[in-house]
Amino acid sequence: MGRYFTIRIGRAALTIVLVVTFAFIVLRLSGDPALMILGPEAPPEVLAAFRKAWGLDDPIWAQYFDYFGAIAKGELGRSMRDGRPAIELVLERIPATLALTLPAFFFKVALGVPAGIYAALHRGSGIDRAVMMTAVAGFTVPSFVLALLLVLVFAVQLGWLPSGGQDSWRHAILPIATLSLGGAAVLARFTRSAMLEVLGQPYIRTASAKGVSWRKVVTSHALPNAAIPTVTILGFMVGTLIAGAVVVESVFAWPGVGRLLVVAVANRDLAVVQCILLLVAMTMVTSNLIVDFLYGFLDPRLRSKGAHA
């Protein structure tokens, strides 16, 4: 088992390295970083000083390692718009984004998983069909469309909820709803098929035939086994949540990291973009590691020595 985790941690580190490399390559390929970060109006001496300070005259390998070093030290440049350190800008917006994504994650799981389980247990019923259909809606309706539809219905037509800004807790309802609904539908579908696959296994029939009550069969055998593939998709969901947050925050004018990213991209504020990219990478890597740990823990085949993941 130790070996399993070592591999996973190694892979995580490798992903971070790759992301940093990716950022470095894109940064270098796209033009003179000095010009881009300081802007075209910067006077030549400033540009030269910048280049010297950032070692842009050094060979590319030295630059690469320096880049790594700078990132490790948290020197991620300054925002072009207001000159503040990019990392500060990003960090101060994280709470706002978490205020949306954490509840959304919770709701996704709380809605999606039970719905999927129920649908699997009552296959062919009305609920099952409803779940499947909403699941289809979940991945064909993009989050921005869903957001706008919700605004149209709840804010414009019915006037129940505000459509933008961050002033009260009520403002959070629509964004959270948008983030959770799409994902919940997909999660429901996935959970359903995981459950169905498990329920179709011979050992379930055996347990039933042995006289074990259906409830016990489900709780002791089906659910734990279905949990394993479901856990792996949770890690993937973190990624979609992050992407979803970008769109949702933009639609609802919610001042989180996602909105910051969109604005930074539009303004080509590279330091901020870079910073957010790395933040997202760290988040993804951490969540994948957590999923891997959970997976290793849940799947007894991995816990015992000699099993292959």
Partner: protein, 328 residues
């Protein structure tokens, strides 16, 4: 007399296999110091149970895998290195037919196209000539052009194997390795296949290496038989003689286990112990844990393959000891 078509000298091949995730890599001696010669136009039968290394030997002889040590010479020249252009060109002279004919055929193409493929690959003849050759080959394996138009899924196992055979013969090879070609077929079809092979061999002067675990089949087609156990040859000799008077205890057990008309079932030698595990090879003679006549020496010293009269060679301390005693 012309030199043998195929000369195999002391080839060995070892795989490193991890038995467990945390275990040490176990070395599997799939093939260990195997030497064979196959004269032109003759058939060498290679017999053994699973794990004996016969398939690997077949692949090495054909040049599909490089040996770790030792050499294979074809028609006097060493085998070309795997994957090179020379190797690909050499394929026209030597071919293989496999145990699973369905797996060896592309399900999406009609079989006639697949028979044609070697001709396309090696650029032999004009398109019209290739079509004619395909028809000729279909006739040779006793199938019709209507069969040729079908897809592999629409043919029976025996028919598929004939297609594979026809494809293998397309470039008029000199040498054919048959790796368990009839094991997957019904027993009645097996006999037909073997007869077909024998006929074709006679017609086309083919040299065959016939690999099988089924003694009856091997007996029918082989001139010389080699018996393998855990990667080593334990006995080799002309077919009829070997089956009539097996010398090595393992060969004796094999022969007694395979039914033959006229032989009573009493006197069957049943081997004790577990089937061999290639990853955990016994010391000394690999067969000694199961051998009913093992002596102390068998556990410590590996017996060498030595001549015991006629063209027979046996790797057994008891047999060679007795032979040298007799000769003395």
């Amino acid at each position: 007399m012309s030199p043998p078509l195929v000369e195999v000298s002391a080839i060995s091949r070892t795989y490193a296999m991890r038995s467990r995730m945390f275990g040490r890599a176990a070395a599997v001696h799939a093939v260990d110091d195997v030497s064979l010669t196959i004269p032109r136009g003759q058939t060498l039968g290679l017999v053994g149970e699973s794990g004996s290394g016969k398939s690997t030997t077949g692949r090495i002889v054909l040049g599909l895998e490089p040996p770790d040590s030792g050499e294979v010479r074809f028609d006097g020249k060493p085998m070309a290195a795997l994957g090179t252009t020379a190797w690909r060109a050499q394929r026209a002279r030597m071919q293989m037919i496999f145990q699973d004919p369905l797996g060896a055929l592309d399900r999406r193409l009609p079989v006639a196209t697949q028979i044609r493929e070697p001709l396309d690959i090696h650029g032999l003849g004009t398109p019209a000539e290739r079509e004619e050759r395909v028809r000729e080959l279909l006739r040779a394996v006793e199938l019709t052009p209507a069969h040729g138009a079908r897809y592999p899924g629409a043919l029976s196992g025996g028919q598929r194997q004939r297609i594979v055979l026809a494809r293998a013969l397309a470039t008029k090879p000199d040498f054919l390795v048959c790796d368990e070609p009839v094991s997957a077929l019904d027993v009645s079809i097996q006999a037909q296949m073997v007869n077909l092979l024998c006929d074709l061999q006679a017609q086309l002067s083919l040299t065959l290496l016939f690999i099988s675990h089924d003694l009856r089949v091997v007996r029918q087609i082989s001139n010389v038989v080699a018996v393998m156990y855990l990667g080593r040859i334990v006995e080799i000799g002309s077919a009829d003689d070997l089956f009539a008077r097996p010398e090595h205890p393992y060969t004796q057990a094999l022969v007694s286990a395979s039914p033959a008309p006229g032989r009573r079932s009493a006197g069957r030698i049943v081997l004790s112990g577990d089937p061999p595990n290639p990853a955990a090879r016994p010391t000394g003679c690999a067969f000694h844990p199961r051998c009913p006549r093992a002596i102390a020496r068998c556990a410590s010293e590996v017996p060498a393959l030595s001549a015991v009269g006629g063209d027979r060679q046996v790797a057994c301390h008891l047999v060679t000891g007795a032979a040298t005693r007799d000769a003395a």
